[in-house]
């Protein structure tokens, strides 16, 4: 029995920690100059489902002078054992302790994984705070969609990367390698790195507060950029993409091949964080997608490939794409899936093309029960059209329908919720055999969206609205599923948080909070106690914000101007819609530059 066996013999799902997957890249430690531990602050099965994580792994490993190995948050049982036995956290590929790497680079996709960063750093024996780390410690780099508001993590991180890393990573790596071994200070490295668009070094900025209110964030030195512009790749078709993905050895959340066919979305849904931060909309060509499908089948053997985008039916020539993929690959027993279909007839035709034989089920995120509220959020779905779609779907044999809604949207009233009940009753009248699954999440005001100034709804209001739904929809064929309120509550705080939340994170983590995105692990009491103990009122992060006051993420730009967001917000309150954007056809001048 090896030491590794002693570590894993009584651990849940040990295959999370063994590496050894098909397509992993193991390079010669002594022959590579830059050594990166790519970390995901959640469990293996979550991290391995993230395309962004696999993209970074691929980009770094394609460099001859660089090796990139993976690490994930260990489960509670392994964390305890590592601490008891004083074993440092290790990479999956070569089982090297993380402190031996040059960088620990985190891919952060969700606010509720922030404590995972602290778990990984502490198990790596790396000081948690950036000020306590010297040139001898690994550089802590964090990227991913959540860091469009990086401030809650500011005290722990050396470098944030804002935006799309496909091109900039090479420059960051080159800059680092020119510095490594030169004997120069970390500050000199920071000075060089801060010249790269998308790099944000939080220790070079200072913040100011007026009581509860955030006042300013400004550079400490004249050479530090005042504003950080999100990095965007202009040509998605030519961007590097991993067609030799690592094949997980255990079941993961999304166990299939993935091709990102489109980045960005034209629909301007006002609540949608992704819709604003991934602008402008860009596509991969049919030719490239076809080639990638072939390469993924050859290298991974996947039986399903998901054609990923924020709104599949908006991919130009999507029908042609599906026809081509079907005719080329159906003999190889490959299924394609299209996430995020709009609730219109065109989407039904697409769903039919994809599920030629079996009608498994339809999923539509209609978000709100009334046309009025859908206009506020710019969901752009007319009730009449929705019912027409359902009628056709039922006549074609789809009987299982999933609908997603949000509760607590701006301007929402109890009447809007009662209308959801009526809507569902009308669907059942249309088809008595229908089986409906309704998912309800709580609206979270996200930075960089027109709703970034809105309040996060109070629990009693959400509870009241839940009871309207539960009372009104007690039916055999209707299943209701409500997202955990305390989870959304924490996400709302950290989404719009400032630097003061770093100490909340640290204290809650010290009290044992882990895996907050898993309802079985989330302990809201720890967080309540921590806010009390640190004398920070969490409500300040949840209330509606004054339009004239500065925001903690004002120094980060995703390209969309604040003026545009304000204009959109105004239109929301007037119930005015914004039409889909298409560069050169219909543009509302959000500020994002098309390449």
């Amino acid at each position: 029995m090896t030491d590794f066996d002693f570590l894993l013999n009584d651990i849940e799902k040990p295959s999370r920690y063994i590496g050894n997957e098909h397509n992993i890249m193991i390079k010669d430690w002594d022959k590579t100059k830059l050594k990166v531990a790519l970390a995901f602050p959640d469990l293996y099965e979550v991290g391995m489902s993230h395309l962004g994580f696999q993209i970074i792994y691929y980009i770094l490993n394609r460099r001859e002078d660089t090796l990139c190995e993976r690490v994930f948050s260990p489960g509670i049982d392994l964390e305890r054992k590592l601490r008891d036995k004083r074993i440092p956290l290790f990479s999956l590929e070569t089982k090297k302790p993380l402190s031996e790497f040059d960088w620990i680079a985190f891919s952060v996709a969700y606010e509720l994984t922030y404590t995972g960063i602290l778990t990984i750093l502490s198990l790596a024996n790396v000081p948690l705070f950036s000020y306590a780390r010297t040139e001898a410690h690994p550089l802590i780099i964090v990227g991913g969609p959540s860091v469009l508001n990086p401030e809650p993590l500011a005290d722990f991180v050396d470098i944030f990367f804002i935006g799309e890393a496909e091109e900039a990573l090479d420059r960051i790596a080159d800059t680092y390698l020119a510095w490594k071994g030169s004997g120069r200070t970390k500050m000199e490295l920071f000075k060089k790195l801060s010249e790269i668009q998308g790099v944000y070094i939080p220790s070079l900025y200072e913040t100011d507060y007026d009581g509860n209110n955030f006042l300013t964030i400004k550079p400490k030195y004249s050479w530090v950029p005042k504003k950080i512009e999100k990095r965007v790749i202009n040509n998605l078709d030519k961007a590097p993409f991993p067609t030799n993905p690592i094949l997980p050895l255990q079941e993961v959340v999304h166990d299939r091949g993935v091709i990102e066919i489109m980045r960005g979305c034209q629909r301007n849904c006002r609540f949608c964080f992704a819709g604003y931060i991934y602008r402008p909309k860009r596509y991969r060509s049919i030719e490239t997608i076809k080639r990638y499908v072939k390469e993924i089948i050859d290298s991974a053997g996947y039986e399903e490939i998901s054609l990923l985008s924020l709104s599949s039916s908006d991919y130009p020539e999507i029908e042609k794409l599906i026809d081509i993929l079907n005719s080329e690959f159906s003999s190889m027993y490959v299924n394609f899936s299209l996430p995020s279909l709009r609730a219109d007839n065109f989407s039904l035709e697409l769903a039919e093309k994809i599920e030629k034989v079996r009608k498994s089920g339809l999923t539509f995120a209609i978000e709100a029960g009334t046309e009025r509220l859908r206009k506020v959020i710019n969901k752009g779905l007319k009730e009449e059209d929705f019912f027409k779609t359902l009628e056709i779907a039922f006549s074609k044999g789809w009987n299982r329908v999933k609908l997603y809604f949000m509760l607590g949207l701006p301007t929402e009233t109890d009447e809007d919720i009662e209308e959801i009940v009526n809507l569902i009753k009308r669907i059942i009248n249309l088809n008595k055999r229908v089986s409906l699954h309704l998912g309800f999440s709580v609206f979270i005001p996200k930075p960089h969206t027109p709703f970034q100034w809105e309040k996060f709804e109070k629990e009693e209001v959400i509870e009241r609205r839940k009871s309207i739904l539960l009372k009104g929809l007690k039916r055999r064929n209707v299943e209701l599923d409500f997202h955990d309120y305390s989870m959304s509550y924490l996400e709302a705080i950290f989404s719009r948080g400032d630097r003061r939340l770093s100490k909340i994170l640290l204290q809650a983590w010290k009290k044992g909070s882990r895996f907050e995105s898993w309802s079985e692990y989330l302990n809201p009491n720890i967080w309540k106690e921590t806010f009390l103990m640190e004398d920070i009122n969490p409500e300040q992060y949840l209330e509606g914000r004054d339009l004239n006051l500065p925001l903690p993420w004002d120094h980060i730009s995703c390209g969309v101007t604040k003026l545009y967001l304000l204009k959109e917000r105004e239109k929301a309150y007037k119930g005015e819609e914004t039409s889909p954007c298409e560069w050169g056809v219909s543009c509302d001048y959000c500020g994002v530059i098309h390449g």
Binding site: M1, I18, H22, E251, D255, Y333, V357
Partner: protein, 229 residues
Amino acid sequence: MSGEFLAIIAVLFMDKFIYRLAFYKKELLKYVSSNDLLSFLIRALRRSYLPICYSQGFNPKPLISFGLPCPVGVESEQDWIDITLGKEMEKNEIMESLNSQLPKSLQFFRCERKYTNSSLISDTYGINYELKVFALIKEKLLEEVAEFKNKENVMILVRRGSKIKEINIKSFIEDMELKEIETGYFIVSLKTKKIGDSIIRGEEFLEIFSSKPLLLDQKREVVLNCINY
């Protein structure tokens, strides 16, 4: 005409060629659960472009079947799968195609053409285990082993699904040997047989001891009645 003969005719006429393959699974891959191993092998098969047959119907699945699942943490010297191909192929070619898609710690080493539809589980004779254990008091261990050998019935409690059952472990064990490899460390070699559809797991043997030795390692080898039918 016997049923077996009819089954052979059916298989011959369907243009389907069943192959029974043996593989080992060692080192860290012992931590992969049997369900995960199934999709791991299916994907390796798909990458190998062997002409695997698929089931008919709404949701076609590759025709591949496993025998008795190997528990997490147990290395396997010999486990089996049956695969159905749409064309006759050289046995070595099949193994080479598959092995090129698999890591060194999981490789196929035997392949036979099969002419009936009998399942791997029904064709399993038993499982040989090799347990590496540590025992603090050697004399006590040897005494209890001798006692076990002399008794006709040795009843132990085992978990089967959500139930706890009492079984006579002696009836499952055909042969047992104990060898000391260094002070305190022993290798227990067991030859067990399947009774009906039930087997015993290697570590269940340790239930016979009043003071249970510490299990350090476990290997298994699945033995079939015979290979081609």
